[in-house]
Symmetry: none
Subunit: 218 residues, 4 copies
Amino acid sequence: MTKTETAHPRHAAATQRRILDAALSEFSTHGYGGARVDRVAAMAEVSKPMIYNYFGDKDALYKAALKEAYVQIREGERQIATEHMEPEDAIRELARFTMEHFIQKPWFISMLNTENLRRGAAVREIEDVAEIQSTMIAQMSHILERGVATGRFRSGIDPVELYIMMASLCFFPVSNQHTLRVVFQTPIDAPWLKRRAEEAGEMLVRYLRADPVPPPNP
Amino acid sequence: MTKTETAHPRHAAATQRRILDAALSEFSTHGYGGARVDRVAAMAEVSKPMIYNYFGDKDALYKAALKEAYVQIREGERQIATEHMEPEDAIRELARFTMEHFIQKPWFISMLNTENLRRGAAVREIEDVAEIQSTMIAQMSHILERGVATGRFRSGIDPVELYIMMASLCFFPVSNQHTLRVVFQTPIDAPWLKRRAEEAGEMLVRYLRADPVPPPNP
Amino acid sequence: MTKTETAHPRHAAATQRRILDAALSEFSTHGYGGARVDRVAAMAEVSKPMIYNYFGDKDALYKAALKEAYVQIREGERQIATEHMEPEDAIRELARFTMEHFIQKPWFISMLNTENLRRGAAVREIEDVAEIQSTMIAQMSHILERGVATGRFRSGIDPVELYIMMASLCFFPVSNQHTLRVVFQTPIDAPWLKRRAEEAGEMLVRYLRADPVPPPNP
Amino acid sequence: MTKTETAHPRHAAATQRRILDAALSEFSTHGYGGARVDRVAAMAEVSKPMIYNYFGDKDALYKAALKEAYVQIREGERQIATEHMEPEDAIRELARFTMEHFIQKPWFISMLNTENLRRGAAVREIEDVAEIQSTMIAQMSHILERGVATGRFRSGIDPVELYIMMASLCFFPVSNQHTLRVVFQTPIDAPWLKRRAEEAGEMLVRYLRADPVPPPNP
DNA sequence: TATGAATGAGTCTTCATTCAT
DNA sequence: TATGAATGAAGACTCATTCAT
């Protein structure tokens, strides 16, 4: 008999994983105050004491889930490769990628919103958060440099601020889709969101383009 | 003994107002699950039964607070006047105004985030929400039209989508300031946010500008 | 309809009393760790939230019960009157009274034991504890003075130390009755305890008596 | 790899000892209800299943610890030797010894208090408890006999009752030191307790002394 | 002999909600 | 209109105990 595939016994690491996944799901679905440890236990198919044993208390569990959200996002961001693209295409690709990310991993947006509601009480205590989006920023910098070098892009754009703009354009329509849907009575669905990403790309590119040189006075 | 000057006057309307203000503060500070009816009562300086008497239950109170948030925002949006401005200036002004709005009324952002966490369960049931941001959209349409008419702006831009882009660029940096601050180690404060608004204006304007007509072939 | 005699509604003071009595009973019967808030609620015929509402938490409830134990003891000690007695009789009476006290109010002994197990964590924070046994000490002092004045008692005896000795002789047989019963296979009952009090009186009196003056050398 | 030098040797007896010592410490520090099996395991440096394996359950562990307390006390009492002393000195020595005992082995007092709180539920089931303090009683008897024989002591004193009196005078000041300290604001420390023992000896001796023979009528 | 992993059954505490006046 | 008093139902967290290896 090989390793038993039973859910429960003797698999500390696996148990912790299940709890973490369940916690991420629970906190992102219900927010901190609305999350229930009981539900996490049920979802993870463990008894409550396991949660307290491995994570401490609800707060620590939340912090672990938040960190996990960032970690998973970082994993994802490692996969973008834009070096070989034309700068404008690279920017558009980044926008597409970011939007895709937010659509595919809705719990990330929920966790960020929840954490900001809590005024960042937990992020502050997570180590290494700073370097989490370093990949993204690095790519952004590289694209900008190349764009400037070829004369296609203006210079003087801060990559972090540019990244935040791109993130804003992708985050908000996903994050606020439920209120937007009602307020604007628009059918906010995946295709609509993807068009937003295209338009965000367009906007970023136009924002970056070097101003046309005025024709020489004759 | 004549009219007592207690904090609990006979005027039902005033009592309801105090409750509503307290509820808005409470729900936006703690989210739905974290909000406490006791705290609302204490803040409003009323007894808890009053809350149930006037609003029903926690859920109804939340809905009332959410609606109130929208109403207050609508009040604010009535005050923008861009008709007399040049289209580009008008766009920039709208961005500034929107950002200012979000900074001044942080509970609005919190309520929107909370409501979206709840997947829009409550907005759906609020009447007249649709027309709430009609002022904004109307202005946006008008500006676009004028811009297109003068040849300054491209045509074919949807005012709602443009509005959402502008909102995105202003909302996200405020809404996510606590996580951004930690992740990017940037001092996110009022001046920084105002610069974001300027840059948002710049971006929108560049996005809208008509493409330069290529010089006629000789 | 006069005041309703219902157990529950609208009688804050009465409710608090019932809770306090129940708490005293519960803590003295089971010790701190063995006490159950549920049982206190049941005994007091109130819902648990009442307990937390009026007393705070288990710890505060315990402290209140401990203080109550001391208060009730003080009440009792007010009733001894030994001024008109011969000093020796007064001492014997005090011993009898003290023993009776311990027999009649067994929860007092239990609370003291419990509190000492906790190393006095709670007494320290009770105000006015110091003056609680002042009546007893005052009486003791007065008896001693009168005894010395009449030449019947030795001088130089500290009233507090004498009180502690008396208390020791009465407390221990009651407090430790269950172990004593088994270890010495003696039927420790009320009569036996009362004889202990008599013997304690005898012992104290003999301890206090002035040494016989040696006959003058012829 | 040869015999590991871990803290968990193969020797079952040693393991049991460590558990027993830890249990004695735990129960006497926290009482029955406050004692934690986890803490016993940690203190004994064994896994919890070991405790259940060797002792059964918490109750059985408690009983074992209580018995151990008595056993250790009996060990101690074997060491007093008063045969060669003058009866009065012997009594004083016994008081000193008893007090020293209580000061040196505070867990004994705690266990007795805990057990009496439980109304002696466990002592009753311990075999041989009866003979545990036999040494003490035997000594007491012998001293009394010798005192009576020499005419120094009164006759008719029951050794068990005398022992209980002595124990009372020593037990109470140690047992109740924390409440006494607060109630009487006296610095109850080792020297103070030792003076209590001296005074207890004095009291016992005066209690035992034969009454002076009235001078013969001339 | 020994233990890491796991849990059922509580235990304290809180919360939304209602009753009686 | 207004509230002090009260509670059922659940929430977070713990504890004695057992299983599988």
